[in-house]
């Protein structure tokens, strides 16, 4: 490796580190992207300077194609960000796996496969392959291109891990004797299959946590590639990616009060609708006109957005509502639950997209003490994150999960299409409470109506 390349890599690493530090607040965050782009440019520039590169044809075509696919992929609607993330992990895993595969055959020919190199290549290829298929499957589930419910059968975990054990054993064999090259394609195949098996038993609504985990795996596979290529920059960047995914998964598991193993192997969501039947309770329903009147009369309103708002793409209508109410002098805040929506921080991005200023978004722990003083709590397509059973019913599957105390507001209004349960598949007492009014319908349609009523009333 030439000195120039080494220097470029050396300069790129601190820029990546600074980039992540600048993500600590929205004020400095755009600098973060800039610094990461410069670092990437340095890494690529340094590599292209290498004298061993003697043809740029393939590189040029591939980079061009990458831009042609990458640019449109960055223009997806923000509700599709989770799918895009899954897809991007699949691409990352693919790239790492392909390089590892090519290196194996090259070094095999050249006879330079030391046991150490063989070992890291084995690990790298397994990680890359499983991230690739895992990411693809997660993306498909998130995009609801395939059924999102967990697909399980007896002994699933045993079969999965037996497969993984076989792959590891074969890798061990290759470390012992790299020339048993028949084993290598089997390792690749198992890696690909294992990725599928890892994701199949996980329900669609757990996908957000799963893509955080896949982020970890993608990072780790980049680290492994760094070991293979003896490249420190790759190790650092991969470790940053890996720890980021890890920390985010932990944060989300904590916010759901579930353990990591429960998310990965618990097949959560398969019991959906189990408790849906029961004694018939009645909920009060209201019209958009009622809702408009109540909102206009309120002093403080807290809006709790959830998965349903994302599905209905209602964020722009929510902004109209926010603006109208603010103009009338109502104090409107947004209470964002850490796991609301389809990926960590998803609600924040959607609300930001609708140009709702981020200082109006309040975190769960800060809003809860204020809830008893709130006049109206408007729940938009959220369910589990406002289910009081999490506080009171120790038999509930979500018992212990911290929730937004919507029920403590003077009046609760909830927008959803039916009385159906949310992701956790359990009934929500909140919707039968005395101070709760249901606004049935698609979130976007209902809010549009409310906005129309409000501005009409305004005009009259």
């Amino acid at each position: 490796m030439t000195g120039a390349a080494e220097l470029c890599y050396f300069a790129a690493a601190p820029l990546f580190i600074l980039a992540l530090r600048w993500m600590s607040s929205p004020e400095t965050a755009r600098r973060a992207v800039f610094s990461a782009v410069v670092a990437m440019g340095l890494a690529i520039g340094g590599t292209l300077l290498q004298p061993t590169i003697h043809t740029f044809t393939w590189i040029g075509i591939a980079v061009l194609a990458g831009f042609l696919v990458g640019v449109p992929l960055s223009r997806v609607p923000l509700t599709a960000v989770p799918e895009r993330t899954g897809l991007s992990q699949a691409f990352g895993g693919l790239a790492v796996a392909l390089v590892g595969i090519a290196k194996y055959y090259l070094w095999l020919q050249e006879g330079v496969l030391t046991p150490f190199k063989m070992g890291v290549i084995g690990g790298e290829v397994i990680l890359g392959c499983l991230t690739c298929t895992g990411g693809l499957l997660a993306a498909a589930k998130l995009a609801e291109m395939i059924p999102t419910r967990p697909i399980t059968y007896r002994g699933q975990n045993i079969v999965s891990f037996a497969l993984l054990a076989i792959a590891l054993a074969l890798a061990g064999l290759l470390i012992y004797n790299p020339f048993m090259s028949w084993a290598f394609p089997i390792i690749i195949a198992i890696g690909l299959i294992f990725g599928v098996m890892l994701i199949l038993p996980i329900g669609g609504a757990d996908m957000p946590t799963v893509i955080s985990f896949l982020n970890s795996y993608a990072g780790l596979s980049a680290v492994a590639l760094g070991f293979v290529l003896e490249n420190k920059l790759l190790i650092v960047a991969g470790a940053l990616d890996g720890s980021s995914g890890f920390v985010l998964s932990i944060i989300m598991c904590k916010a759901m009060n579930r353990s990591v193993t429960n998310v990965l192997f618990g097949a959560f969501g398969s019991v959906q609708a189990a408790k849906a039947l029961g004694e018939k309770k009645t909920a009060k329903s209201a019209t958009s006109a009622d809702a408009a009147q109540i909102l206009a009369a309120a002093g403080t309103v807290v809006i709790v957005p959830g998965y349903g708002m994302a599905v209905a793409q209602a964020q722009h209508r929510v902004r109209d509502l926010y603006e109208l109410l603010s103009k009338k002098g109502v104090d409107v805040k947004f209470a964002v639950h850490p796991v609301a929506g389809r990926m960590p921080g998803h609600m924040n991005v959607l609300l930001a997209e609708a140009e709702i200023p981020y200082d109006r978004l309040v975190e769960m722990d800060d809003i809860n003490p204020e809830m008893p003083q709130v006049d109206v709590c408007l729940v938009i397509g959220a369910n589990d994150v406002v289910n009081p059973a999490a506080r009171s019913d120790s038999t509930s599957p979500i018992f212990g999960m911290p929730i937004i105390d919507a029920d403590k507001a003077h009046t609760v209004m909830a927008i959803k299409r039916s009385m159906n349960p949310g992701f956790a598949g359990i009934d929500n007492e909140l919707y039968y409470a005395n101070n709760t009014l249901m606004l049935f319908g698609d979130a976007k349609a209902v809010i549009s109506d409310v906005v129309k009523e409000l501005s009409g009333e305004n005009a009259s």
Binding site: L20, M23, P26, A29, R30, A36, M40, T47, I53, H54, W58, I59, I61, A62, V63, F67, V69, G70, R75, V76, L78, R84, T85, S88, F91, G92, A95, V96, V99, L106, S212, N215, A218, G219, A222, V223, L225, G226, L229, E230, N231, K232, L233, I235, V236, G238, A239, L240, D241, S243, S244, V247, L248, P344, G345, N348, A352, E353, P357, Y358
Partner: protein, 98 residues
């Protein structure tokens, strides 16, 4: 410029400690863009792919390398662009409209 295993592990350990510390300080608001940014960053794997495609040892490795370059490029291009797009949306105060 070889890197022995223990040194590589050393670098990995330090970077992991650092990553865990830094990520824990990232604002909750930004978890989604954080994810797309780290995703894009881990596409530095392109470095290995470029060498493979450019050194063109044999058809297999060249093709695999080119595909890997394509995949990584897609990754960092779309990752950086979408992160920036999302971050541009985060505004503190409303711009007063007349």
């Amino acid at each position: 410029m070889t890197l022995d295993m223990l040194t590589a592990l050393f670098v990995f350990m330090l970077a992991t400690f650092l990553g865990l510390d830094i990520i824990r300080r990232v604002s909750r608001l930004l978890h989604t863009p954080l994810m797309s940014l780290t995703n894009a960053i881990s596409a530095v794997a392109v470095v290995g792919a470029l060498l493979l495609a450019g050194e063109a040892h044999d058809t297999l490795s060249t093709v695999l390398g080119a595909v890997a370059v394509f995949a990584s490029t897609t990754n960092f291009v779309s990752g950086f662009l979408i992160t920036d797009r999302m971050l541009r949306m985060f505004k503190k105060r409303e711009t007063p409209k007349s």
